[in-house]
C-alpha cells in the first residue's frame, strides 16, 4: 500500500537525520508534509493564463465608485503552476478513495466509479452548454434527462421523477415538502411524522425543517418495524412515515406492505429513503410495497463518484397523486419534442437554480445503460451475496446483534472485544494500519458501538477474503496485544487527532501570524 510505503520511508528518513535537516526538508516530495497554500509561494508568483487583451483595458475607478472597490486580494495564494500541481498532487496522496482500496462504509455504497463515465461527462457538447440555451438546441440533453427519469421510475416502480435535488437530503426535503403541499391542498394541516429508531439523521432533521414533529417508532427485537407498533402510533395527525428499506441494519422491512396500508388508511403517505437501493434492483420495486415518494442517491446506487463530499444527486420519485407538486420545471415530451414545462400551479416551487446536477445525472445514465436490466439485477444480487459472505465468516469473531441473513450490509458490535477494553473506534483505526478504509462506526444508534459494513458488488472475493483475514487477525490482536488497536493508527501521516480541541477552540481558516 502506498500509505504504508510512504510512512515507512518517512520513519526511516527521520530516524537518521538531525532535527534542523528534517524541518528544512519539510517540503520534499517523499516526506510530504505539505504546507497550506498560503504558507508557500511568494510575491509575484503567478500560475494563470488568460485570453489576450483585444479590447481596451478600462480604468475601473472610472466605472465603479472607489468605495465599492476592494483594495486588493490580501492573503490570496501567489503560486506558479508547478507549485499548484505539486501541492494538490501531494494532498491527494494523503487521501484514500475507492480506487485506493476497499471502502466498506455502511449505507454509503462506495462502489467502483467507472472511468468511462468521467470521460463522457467531459464531452464539450454537455459540459459547455448553458442551461438557458433555447430548448430547440438542447433536445439531446432534455431527452437524456427524460430517459433517466423513466429508468429511475421503472427501477423503483413509481410514476414520476424529478432530477432537481442535489443530494439525498435535498431529495428528502423535496419529497416531504411535496407531502406537506398535497395535504394542505386537501385542507389538512397534519403535525407529525413517524420515523423509525433506525433512521439516518437526515430523516429526523428533514422532518423538523418541514415543520413536522418527529415521533419515533421503535423497531422490534427482529430489528425491523412492526405493523402493530405503527398502528398504535398512526392517526389522522400523522402526515407520513419515513422508512428506509432495507433499513440501516441491513434488514429488509418485511412488513412494509402492511404498514403502508395502515398509513394510507388514515390518509398519510409513505416516504422511503432510497439510500439502500443497491440491495433491491430488479428484485423488488419499492413502489409495489406501497411507497408514495422516495429519493434515490445517484452517488450511491448509480456509481457516480462521492467526490470527497459531493457533488451527488438525489432524484425524487413519486406516485401519480403527488405529481402536481413536483418542483418546476418538469420535462415533458410532445411527439418527438422535449421541453420544460414551468406552468404547474401546484408545484412546491424550486429547490435550486436550474435543473439538477446534470454532470452527475449523465454519469448515472451512462451507468444504467452499461449494466442494463440484467446487469442491475446482478448488481443487487452480488451486493447481497458479498454482505452475507462477510457476515458468515466474521460472526465467530465479532458480535452480530441480529443474527439473520442480511441484505447489502451487515452490522457488528465490539461486544466480544469489550472485555479486552478494545472499542469499535480502536477496531476502525487499526484497520487503517492494514490499509483499509474502516466501515461506518457508531451508526445506527439502535446498536451500541455499531460497525456497519457494506462491501458493494464491485468487491471481488479475494478482496473480501483479504479484509476478512485482517479482521480475524485483529480479533486475535485484541485478545493478545490490544495496545496495537488502542494506539492505532500508526502507519499514517497523522495519528489520532484531537477532535475535542478542534471543537473547543475552533480554528476554521488560516490567518497570517502577527
Amino acid at each position: 500500500m502506498l500509505l504504508t510505503l510512504c510512512s515507512m520511508l518517512h520513519a526511516l528518513c527521520h530516524e537518521n537525520m538531525a532535527d534542523d535537516m528534517v524541518s528544512k526538508l519539510k517540503d520534499t516530495g517523499l516526506i510530504q508534509d505539505e504546507p497550506l497554500l498560503f504558507e508557500q509561494g511568494g510575491e509575484g508568483r503567478k500560475g494563470y493564463s488568460l485570453p489576450r487583451w483585444d479590447v481596451e483595458e478600462v480604468e475601473v475607478r472610472n466605472l465603479i465608485s472607489p468605495h465599492l472597490l476592494r483594495k486588493g486580494l490580501e492573503g490570496f495564494p501567489q503560486l506558479s503552476e508547478v507549485d499548484v500541481v505539486r501541492h494538490f498532487t501531494r494532498l491527494s496522496q494523503w487521501n484514500y478513495g475507492v480506487d485506493s482500496g476497499f471502502y466498506p462504509l455502511g449505507s454509503c455504497t462506495m462502489k467502483y466509479n467507472p472511468k468511462l463515465n468521467e470521460e463522457l461527462a467531459r464531452l464539450p457538447g454537455f459540459s459547455a452548454i448553458h442551461p438557458y440555451q433555447p430548448e430547440e438546441l438542447s433536445q439531446g440533453i432534455l431527452k437524456l434527462m427524460y430517459e433517466l427519469e423513466r429508468f429511475l421510475a421503472e427501477i423503483t416502480g413509481m410514476d414520476h421523477v424529478t432530477l432537481q435535488p442535489a443530494a439525498g437530503a435535498h431529495g428528502e426535503l423535496t419529497g416531504m415538502k411535496m407531502v406537506r403541499a398535497c395535504l394542505e391542498a386537501r385542507g389538512e394541516r397534519r403535525k407529525k411524522v413517524l420515523v423509525p429508531d433506525t433512521a439516518h439523521g437526515t430523516n429526523c432533521s428533514t422532518s423538523t425543517i418541514v415543520s413536522y414533529q418527529m415521533v419515533e417508532v421503535k423497531s422490534s427485537e427482529k430489528g425491523i418495524i412492526h405493523p402493530e407498533q405503527v398502528a398504535r402510533q398512526m392517526d389522522e395527525d400523522v402526515a407520513a412515515i419515513m422508512v428506509t428499506n432495507p433499513n440501516t441494519l441491513g434488514l429488509f422491512e418485511e412488513h412494509l406492505g402492511e404498514i403502508a396500508e395502515i398509513v394510507h388508511r388514515k390518509g398519510g403517505f409513505v416516504y422511503c429513503d432510497g439510500a439502500n437501493l443497491n440491495a433491491l434492483m430488479g428484485i423488488v420495486k419499492l413502489g409495489d410495497l406501497g411507497v408514495d415518494v422516495l429519493h434515490i442517491n445517484l452517488h450511491k446506487t448509480f456509481s457516480t463518484p462521492h467526490g470527497g463530499g459531493g457533488p451527488g444527486a438525489g432524484p425524487v420519485a413519486v406516485k401519480k397523486e403527488l405529481a402536481p407538486f413536483l418542483p418546476i420545471p418538469v420535462i415533458e415530451k410532445e411527439g418527438e419534442k422535449y421541453f420544460f414545462n414551468q406552468d404547474r400551479p401546484d408545484s412546491i416551487g424550486k429547490m435550486r437554480a436550474f435543473y439538477g446536477n446534470f454532470g452527475v445525472l449523465l454519469r448515472a445514465y451512462a451507468y444504467i445503460l452499461t449494466l442494463g436490466a440484467h446487469g442491475l439485477r446482478k448488481v443487487s444480487e452480488m451486493a447481497v451475496l458479498n454482505a452475507n459472505y462477510l457476515m458468515k465468516r466474521l460472526k465467530d469473531y465479532y458480535y452480530l446483534p441480529y443474527d439473520r441473513p442480511c441484505m447489502h450490509e451487515c452490522v457488528f458490535t465490539d461486544r466480544f472485544q469489550e472485555e479486552h477494553h478494545v472499542t469499535t473506534l480502536d477496531i476502525a483505526k487499526r484497520l487503517i494500519d492494514y490499509g483499509f478504509h474502516p466501515p461506518t462506526i457508531y451508526f445506527p444508534l439502535v446498536v451500541k458501538a455499531a460497525l456497519m459494513i457494506e462491501p458493494t458488488e464491485t468487491e471481488s472475493k479475494e478482496g473480501l477474503d483479504r479484509f476478512i483475514d485482517t479482521m480475524i487477525e485483529m480479533a486475535r490482536e485484541a485478545e493478545e496485544s490490544p495496545d496495537l488497536l488502542r494506539q492505532a493508527p500508526q502507519r499514517v501521516k497523522v495519528r489520532r487527532l484531537d477532535e475535542v480541541l478542534a471543537a473547543r477552540r475552533p480554528k476554521l481558516k488560516w490567518t497570517r501570524k502577527e
Binding site: V55, L123, E154, G310, G359, K509
Partner: protein, 452 residues
C-alpha cells in the same frame, strides 16, 4: 447463463464458493426475507446493456452544438485552466467520501480548510462552511438561518435578486415562520430602491436580502442601508451569482454583511447545463453555531503534528438529528476543490486581472450596443459583466434571428420580469473575443432592423 457484466468481478466459481460458505443453495435464497408476492418475476423494462464503445457512440448523439454565447444569468462561461480538471481527476480526490476518518483523508480535509480560508478572504467574512448545493439554496438557507437567529418574521427581498434564487427562497421558507416582502428596483437605474427599503425597515424585519452584482449585472451599494438595518436588529444578507466580480468589488464583509451566500461556479466549474455547481456560505464568527453545512477545523494529533478534522458537528444532522441547523450531508466537495485549485492558479493578481478583463469586454459590448439603432442600455447604474439592453421589436424573434448566425445573443427577460418585455440580459466574459462581440452586435443590428 453467465453473462459478463462490467464492474462485477464475480465468476461462477466465486459465487458457488461463497454460497457454500453461507450455506445457501442459490442466490435467490438470500432474498427470502422479501415476501414472495412482491418479488419481480420478469426483468426490469430497461434497454439492454451497452459496451463501452457502443455507449460512447450512443451518447455522442445526445450532445448539443456549441454556439458563440452571451448568456449568463447565474451560469457563466469562464476559462478553466487545464490544471484544475487534471488535478480533480486524481481518483484519491474524487473517489473518496466524507472525511469521517481524518487520518486517511488529510488531502480532502486540508483542501476544504484552504477553501474555507479563500471564501472568507473573497467575501471579507470570518467563517465559511465546506459548501452548499448551489447559490440559490445557499441563499435560502441563509434566510432560514436569519430566522433562527432573530426569531423575526419579515424578510425584505430585493426584486433585483435572481428570479430563480427568489423562487427557491420562497420554496424553502415556512410561511408560518417567515414572510417575504418584495423591495422593488428603481426603473432606469436597475438597482434596489433604497428609499423603499429604508421605509420598510422595522423591528419585525429579521433579514434584508440584496444581490450584488444583481441579476441585471448592476453593482449594488450596501452602505446607504446597512446602518439602519443594524439599528433595527435585522441581518444583512448579501447574495451573488458571479464570484469573479469579487476580484475587484469590495468584500461584502467590509460593507456590513452578516451572511454572504452565493454561487461559485465561475471559479473553475464547467457550465454543464446547470450543475453541479457550488454554494458558498460565509458569515460572522458569532453565528458559527447557527450555520448549516460542514466545517473543517485545524487541530493536532497525538504527536503534536498539525492536522485537520470535521468539527462543530453538533450542529449537523448525524449528531443533532431533529434539532440540526440543516439536513445537509453530501454537499459539493469536489466543486469546492475545483474552486480552491482555480483560485490557487489565478491567485492575487489573476483574479483581479480576469475581473478587469470581464469588465472591459462588457464595457466594449455596452458601447457598441448602445450605438445600434433601436437599442439602448436599460439601466444607468454601473455593471460588472452583465447588462440589460432595451430593444425595439420582439426580443424572442430578434434572438431567433441572431441565432441563425450561431450566436446566443442574450437572455429574454420577458419570462422573468413581465415589465421588461423588450429587454435582453447580455453577459460578456473573458471568453468572448472582440470579433465575437462585433459579430454579435452586427447580428443584433440586422435582426432589429429586419422587423416588419
Amino acid at each position: 447463463m453467465e453473462e459478463f457484466f462490467r464492474y462485477i468481478p464475480h465468476t461462477r466459481n466465486d459465487v458457488q464458493q461463497m454460497l457454500d460458505t453461507i450455506g445457501a443453495p442459490k442466490v435467490e435464497d438470500l432474498f427470502e426475507s422479501i415476501p414472495g408476492q412482491y418479488r419481480l418475476s420478469k426483468p426490469l423494462d430497461l434497454p439492454s446493456s451497452l459496451s463501452e464503445p457502443d455507449l460512447i457512440r450512443h451518447l455522442q448523439a445526445y450532445q448539443s452544438d456549441r454556439y458563440s454565447s452571451f448568456l449568463g444569468a447565474g451560469a457563466y462561461h469562464h476559462f478553466i485552466p487545464a490544471a484544475v480538471s487534471h488535478l480533480i481527476s486524481r481518483s484519491e480526490f474524487y473517489t473518496a467520501y466524507t472525511p469521517y476518518q481524518p487520518e486517511i483523508s488529510q488531502g480532502t480535509l486540508q483542501g476544504i480548510f484552504e477553501f474555507q480560508t479563500l471564501m472568507c478572504q473573497l467575501t471579507g467574512m470570518e467563517v465559511a462552511n465546506a459548501s452548499m448545493y448551489d447559490g440559490a439554496s445557499s441563499l435560502a438557507e441563509a434566510v432560514v438561518m436569519a430566522q433562527r437567529i432573530t426569531k423575526r418574521k419579515k424578510v425584505l427581498l430585493s426584486q433585483a435578486v435572481h428570479p430563480e434564487y427568489r423562487r427557491v427562497i420562497r420554496t424553502y421558507l415556512d410561511p408560518d415562520q417567515q414572510e417575504i416582502i418584495p423591495v422593488p428596483y428603481r426603473e432606469g437605474e436597475g438597482k434596489t430602491d433604497e428609499k423603499v427599503l429604508l421605509g420598510l425597515l422595522d423591528e419585525e424585519v429579521g433579514a434584508v436580502v440584496i444581490q450584488s452584482p444583481n441579476f441585471f449585472g448592476v453593482v449594488e451599494d450596501l452602505l446607504p442601508v446597512v446602518e439602519k438595518i443594524r439599528e433595527v436588529g435585522a441581518l444583512m444578507i448579501l447574495a451573488f451569482s458571479e464570484a469573479i466580480a469579487y476580484g475587484i468589488l469590495r468584500p461584502p464583509g467590509e460593507m456590513g454583511a452578516d451572511i454572504v451566500a452565493g454561487e461559485g461556479q465561475s471559479l473553475g466549474m464547467p457550465i454543464a447545463f446547470g450543475g453541479p455547481y457550488l454554494g458558498i456560505f460565509t458569515t460572522r464568527e458569532r453565528f458559527v453555531r447557527m450555520m448549516p453545512g460542514r466545517l473543517v477545523g485545524e487541530t493536532v494529533d497525538l504527536d503534536g503534528k498539525r492536522g485537520f478534522v470535521l468539527t462543530l458537528a453538533a450542529r449537523e444532522q448525524h449528531i443533532r438529528r431533529e434539532r440540526a441547523t440543516s439536513n445537509i450531508c453530501t454537499n459539493e466537495g469536489l466543486c469546492a476543490l475545483m474552486a480552491t485549485i482555480y483560485l490557487s492558479c489565478f491567485g492575487k493578481e489573476g483574479l483581479r486581472e480576469v475581473a478587469v478583463m470581464n469588465l472591459s469586454k462588457t464595457e466594449y459590448a455596452k458601447k457598441t450596443a448602445s450605438q445600434i439603432p433601436g437599442c439602448r442600455l436599460a439601466f444607468s447604474s454601473p455593471t460588472f459583466n452583465e447588462f440589460v439592453l432595451q430593444i425595439e421589436g420582439n426580443p424572442g424573434e430578434v434572438l431567433t434571428k441572431v441565432r441563425e448566425k450561431k450566436i446566443l445573443g442574450g437572455v429574454n427577460l420577458a419570462g422573468f420580469y413581465p415589465e421588461l418585455h423588450h429587454h435582453l440580459l447580455v453577459t460578456v466574459t473573458e471568453m468572448n473575443p472582440k470579433e465575437e462581440i462585433d459579430a454579435w452586435a452586427e447580428a443584433l443590428e440586422k435582426s432589429i432592423g429586419q422587423r416588419a
